[in-house]
Subunit: 271 residues, 4 copies
């Protein structure tokens, strides 16, 4: 089965690039299931229902979020009625929305989860325990045909510890949040494909997607600065492509996807 | 001028790979100046004089450090007498060693600095101000022919803000510390080559170079665990190659370097 | 019912002062139940079985811990067999020891818990949820006659938010960890006695109980310094005294206890 | 000489209590110089020029700030023309306003500084080095008759390390920011009076001055909550009184000041 994951979509530049490219990219890659992290799609901070609908319409099967999940409050009533939109699984009991779901891809079932790290991030319940509980009820190659986890975390150590902890139980574990694609796509010994970070879909001539001058000023000064706004140059689309073994749900190959925006291009061979 | 930078060398696997590969890599790339981050070369924590000498002997012109600079105390007397070994520039006044230096590469002069970020790291003086002061006395294309800054930092935002702040004043600004190579090598509008993180030289079947089981246990448990030790499988060598314009010191091209250890290979075209 | 709580015992100075004073203090106050935070009793870092036994022998009914719980590994087998020694309740599932217990004080039953905050501290499961679960099975004035919670946390905001959240369900909620007694002892509107921090039992001519020069050097320098060791001057004993209503378990009065060591003395009136 | 320092004034309750009480308190204590931390005076976040003027009119000689210095932007033009208002000394070069000043108190001169800690706070230049530089130009008992430093910091360890580092060079070093008065007022061996935290002037039936329900909800949930607003019950006034030796500028006595708001009352003896 062919899966495509795209990293944090940032602002207008990022979402317009994704919306424009996704139909053709999906076809070119033969992707049967597409997950997009949308936590920064609305002006860099959060997601609106309207933008969520546009991303679904462009070909995303599931959208994930992260620490910016609720930056736009209007997403809260929307997520209650939209099971294809996931917020971090390890948010406190009682949080609106869902952190994981099983979705149909034709005759196949795909488990998707969004889980958030804790190192250098907010205080949350343990993402490792939450994921262990999730896999106690979903078995790759048994109850689901593929499993994709978006681990939204700052520290490379936490993302890698997470991936090794669940190696063999997911098709793909992919990091998000740093807004920089890592060049370490690989299949772990247990058969799970992994990349420390998918990178963002946004304008890289920026500070993690935001306009350079205002963002840099925050490191130079301790003053209320200009508001941060997304950079508006040409966006790169960054993500990860995985092909799974239908018998086991494990990964047969992983390849980074990078297109446009001044980054070096990357596309799976033979597509 | 051709510059090669290699990211954090981790443990025996990392340093033996670098020592074995560097002579040939240097020749193949025609690299005239080589900088290696060695903060994890001694069993994952710090650097010893003996390992420092071995890395110089293998072809490193300058070694940089980071938050693990003093993990091995015997490096302190050594650094006092070894100007080619740099510790973070923005360490407090009175800290042994130097944070920057100008080094000869044949008839050319290369400025190298090691500077440390603050976001999610220790309390330090401002790396931006320290670097501004450095460039007040060293002008690229005027007093030095090339300038390379290793910005040792956790957050992608801080590294990118730093790079944009000094775009046009350095040949290469390259991040270290996350131990994951980023796939965003590019030349910024002002002519400075940049990659958010060089990645480590070490065994990637690990948690940032350390053995998986013990490192992952730290995220699952709050108990004194096994000591962390470097992973000992085949190491990947990760770094960045830059070619500069001799007239200006600015970058003409940047290319990631990745070799061995199960990562996808990357080498500049035409070498 | 009369309860006495003593804050973090630091090193030899702290524990010798507590061991010497506790029998008389207990008698003078008519304290029927005594809880002591012992996380720093062993040379400032952790607790040994031997020191634990000495504190029990001197009159402590229960000992609590905190982020230094496991600094001395020999406490781990000891805690397994010693229900009177409590480690943080919200440590991960599978952690040795217990985080709460119900203890006999003559014919009465006292619930004691040790819970750890997260703000500026380690990643842990939610202390608020853990405590909510605890009170779901223990009702003050119904299943237990008194309830005392040691909330080991850095931030005053988290300790106060915690206290208000459980106001009316505990006899005493008292903070530990900052090693400084707060002067805000009061009974909250719901009847729970509260003091943001009990303060340490140790030598205050120090940096939170550790020798001044080495501890201050860590703020001035980024170098491997002298090892920290507890200050050895006269220790102050710091804690909180509470008298409860036997019918409800709620607090009738709270008074700080401070004795010796150069701090202003404080003792409940009429004792 | 008699000095009075009042801790973080929080919101309307805090500032109205201070404005009402200060004239009489000043007279009762015979205070010749009064410093008030005003970083939370405007609805809990920052200070407005109008509130600043009201505090000066009520008897404050100098106002200090902290991490909330710029929460109200209109204070920035005001501070440029008001030398009696101090922001953190170790803010970056180029920051508006001043971090220290020498002020006349009759025929005497008083040095006042506001300096900010770094542990668990923002990235700033070293407060220890900044203060060392300050004392290189101002000598207690030589160029100034008294010196008072408000060290605005989270961690008790940093505040105590700071106090010991400058023991003998200031009349009073007093912490702010935790919004809880510490019960550890004392004169250090070198003659500097010290209290780890002055406590806030505000309503203590709150979470550090803010309304309980909304503030506690932030620890229970990860959702955009109600906005925080200051608690509006009766405020306690919290501070520190110091009497100095006119010959040396060192402290002869220190006494906590607490008045109203349900905290235990404290006032220097004999006033
Ligand atoms: Fe993001
Ligand atoms: Fe994020
Ligand atoms: Fe490193
Ligand atoms: Fe590092
Ligand atoms: Fe402690
Ligand atoms: Fe502690
Ligand atoms: Fe404050
Ligand atoms: Fe503050």
């Amino acid at each position: 089965m062919r899966l495509l994951f795209l990293g944090d979509v940032v602002g207008r530049a990022g979402r317009e690039a994704v919306i424009a490219a996704l139909p053709r990219l999906r076809a070119r890659l033969g992707a049967e299931f597409v997950v997009v992290n949308a936590e920064n799609a609305a002006h860099g901070f959060g997601l609106t229902p309207e933008i969520g609908r546009a991303l679904f319409a462009a070909g995303a099967d599931v959208l994930t979020l992260g620490n910016h999940a609720w930056d736009r409050r209007e997403i809260i009533p929307y997520i209650e009625g939209e099971p294809r939109l996931l917020r971090p699984l390890n948010y406190p009991p009682g949080t609106p929305g869902r952190g994981a779901g099983v979705f149909a891809a034709g005759a196949r079932k795909v488990l998707v989860a969004n889980v958030m790290g804790r190192l250098f991030m907010e205080a949350l319940d343990c993402p490792f325990q939450a994921t262990r509980a999730l896999f106690a009820t979903h078995g790759l190659g048994r109850t689901v045909d593929a499993a994709l986890i978006d681990v939204h975390a700052e520290a490379s150590s936490e993302k890698q510890a997470f991936a090794h902890s669940f190696d063999g139980r997911a098709s793909l574990i992919v990091g998000t949040h740093t807004h920089v694609p890592s060049a370490d796509a690989r299949i772990l010994p247990g058969g799970t494909a992994f990349q420390t970070d998918a990178g963002m879909c946004g304008d890289y001539d920026s500070v993690i997607g935001m306009q350079k001058a205002a963002a840099a000023a925050r490191f130079w000064k301790r003053l209320p600065g200009e508001r941060l706004a997304p950079a508006e140059g040409e966006a790169a689309i960054c993500g990860v492509f995985v092909e799974t073994d239908d018998a086991t749900g494990l990964a047969l190959r992983i390849a980074p996807v990078r297109q446009g925006g001044g980054l070096s291009e990357a596309m799976p061979e033979g597509v």
